[in-house]
Amino acid sequence: MSSPALALRGVSKSFGSRAALTNVDLRLEPAEFLVVLGPTGAGKTTLLRTVAGLEQPDAGALDLFGAEATHLAPAERDVALVFQNFSLYPSKTVRENLEFPLRAPGRKLGAPEIAQRIEWAAKLLHIERLLDRPARKLSGGEMQRVAIGRAIVRRPKLFLMDEPLTNLDAKLREELRVELRELARKLETPVLWVTHDSAEALSMADRVAVLCDGAILQVGSPEDVYFRPASPIVAGQLGTPPMNIIDVKRAANGWATASGVVIARAPSDAPSTAKIGFRPEHVALEGGEVEAVIEVVEDIGPVRVVVAQWGGANVHILVERSRTLHPGDRIRPRVELEHVVVWRN
């Protein structure tokens, strides 16, 4: 088996008394698209900067392509970092901006090779017609394409992307997500992408790593982390609306809410108290034993989000828009056992 593109082994990093990363283990396979998902302050940027060599870990080690790289200088790592704030030279043209990383001392590329790489990158990113325009005249989306172009012309062995879409309009974000995912597949270069946006993580990643307070809480396929979150904290990071999470006690005939109402069946080996989680799309509106009252009905594009009072708990339910529902309607929600995640307290 080939060595991983990147391996972090027990990496920790503190700034003063604040721990930014705690004992992080993470592997990135060749050509893999790995997304690190976490809220602001989770340590995502520190993680990327550590891989880039801009921060030194306090403990642990990292390998790049099978070789120890913990103490390599940034320039020796052959990785490209793309930031949230597109850093371009405003008065230079797009072409000059793209040329810059190729003219760096030590990179002895001939003029034809430079021209050829720029054409190649411009084509991949659909910025051919912008090549002679000054960077300051570009829109936000165009600037970010050029910033990514500056990273790809170097043909690095690894891309590090620090929330590259966060400062863009929602629509552009959605378009670039698709384009950049396709681009990564074409380049066959591994990508470590960090974001706080769960839709971005789920739709782009081969695997998702959930990072909170400097610790990796779970690593798995998008389906894994979404349907089988390892903890309520992980569950809370993924999905809109998020997973329903309810404190329950084991009763004779199933899981009971704090007000003693049994809302779902429990497995035979269930603990006496637990938190249970189930996705809004896994709640059926009929077939359950206990009545619920609809409080809010909200349409978001093709889906309808219902908030209902169920056994003293507020539950989000996702249904198709063809279902006509109104606040005050009574339903009998039902969740199948297979769709209930149980976390022991």
Binding site: P39, D169, L172, R177, H196, S198, G301, R321
Partner: protein, 354 residues
């Protein structure tokens, strides 16, 4: 007369750029209006004119039967929430939130009650005694939201107030804003580029592009019945699939013809000519014996659903599929369109035909 009226509102910058072009909008008392559009469409300039921060170069603004076009911001009774809203650094969170009430002369005891209730709704109770610099960016944003919505002015004006918040916080903030607005019945104009936010908050959405209003309608109508190609593409995530072609004769009446021998029957009497067929991803079905074929370029899992992006003879098409239906890049799949989801646009004007 409507509560807030924008009458032929214009803003032309000194360099000749027409940022806002003859905007006509009538907003009812208590209504929640969202101005939706990409960067540079004129939505923020429109909001700033309502606030009195920009002077229109044409047209009038009437608020509660009063012409406020030339009044300074302080005399308009508007409450503003901006993306980067500075908090008073020397005041605690509680004092920051209470400040607008103090200015409005609300008694101390009543102030405290309102602040506590608001803080509870926004989960800020534990932070009330802290100073702004001790808070994270997201928490500061929530405090500024609480401060802006603690008082009931004639109009709340909000310019992308959720802009810098983490995605996971946005949902609950939307809920807070909407609940509070419904409770207080304060007329609200809210600016965003995020169509999902618009859908969740608005009584009516106003879609803007190039300084003009393209469509003003309730969210479901904007989504289901887009008035033109821009709205069709901009609203929805991903937007509507748009396929270029021609309306001509079909087997029983009219039909839409696209590249790759795509033929879709249309209602009898549909006008012939160059047209664009629109169909939302939830009306594109993956069907082994579908009339058209596509090659999967991306299978984007989004939790409750997947969006499968396919290259077809008539361009890129996105289909929404169940979460369990995994497709692999490179797979060849059959697709078909659900007739209920078909929309037709004029190719030249971009306007809706059927």
């Amino acid at each position: 007369m409507s509560f807030l009226v924008l009458d032929a509102l214009e803003k032309t910058w000194p360099d000749g750029t027409r940022a806002v072009r003859s905007v006509q909008l009538e907003i009812e008392r208590g209504e929640f209006i969202v101005l939706l559009g990409p960067s540079g469409c004129g939505k923020t300039t429109t909001l700033r004119m309502i606030a009195g921060l920009e002077q229109p170069t044409g047209g009038r603004i009437r608020l509660d039967a009063r012409d406020v076009t030339t009044l300074p911001p302080s005399q308009r009774d508007v409450g503003m929430v901006f993306q980067f809203y500075a908090l008073y650094p020397h005041m605690s969170v509680a004092e920051n939130i209470a400040f607008p009430l103090e200015c409005a002369g609300v008694a101390k005891r009543e102030r405290r009650g309102i602040v506590e209730r608001t803080a509870e709704q926004l989960e800020l109770t534990a932070l009330l005694e802290r100073r702004p610099r001790e808070l994270s960016g997201g928490d500061q944003q929530r405090v500024s939201l609480a401060r802006a919505m603690v008082r009931d002015p004639a109009v709340w004006l909000m310019d992308e107030p959720l802009g810098t918040l983490d995605a996971s916080r946005r949902g609950e903030m939307c809920e807070f804003i909407r609940t509070r607005q419904l409770e207080r019945q304060v007329t609200t104009v809210y600016v965003t580029h995020d169509q999902e936010e618009a859908m969740r908050l608005a009584d009516r959405v106003v879609v803007m592009s190039n300084g003009e209003l393209l469509q003003v309608a309730p969210p479901h109508e904007i989504y289901d019945e887009p008035a033109d190609l821009f709205v069709a593409r901009f609203v929805g995530s991903p937007g509507m699939n748009l396929i270029a072609g021609e309306v001509g004769a079909g087997s029983s009446g009219a039909a839409f013809h696209g590249r790759g021998a795509l033929a879709v029957e249309l209602p009898v009497g549909t006008r012939a000519g160059a047209a664009v067929l629109g169909v939302r991803p939830e009306f594109v079905r993956i069907a082994p014996h579908g009339s058209s074929r596509g090659r999967v370029v991306l299978d984007a899992f989004e939790g409750a659903h997947r969006y499968v992006h396919l290259d077809t003879a008539f361009g890129r098409v996105v289909a929404r599929t169940p979460a369990g239906a995994h497709a692999r890049a490179g797979d060849e799949l059959g697709i078909e369109f659900d007739r209920r989801g078909l929309r037709l646009f004029d190719a030249a004007s971009g306007k809706r035909l059927a």
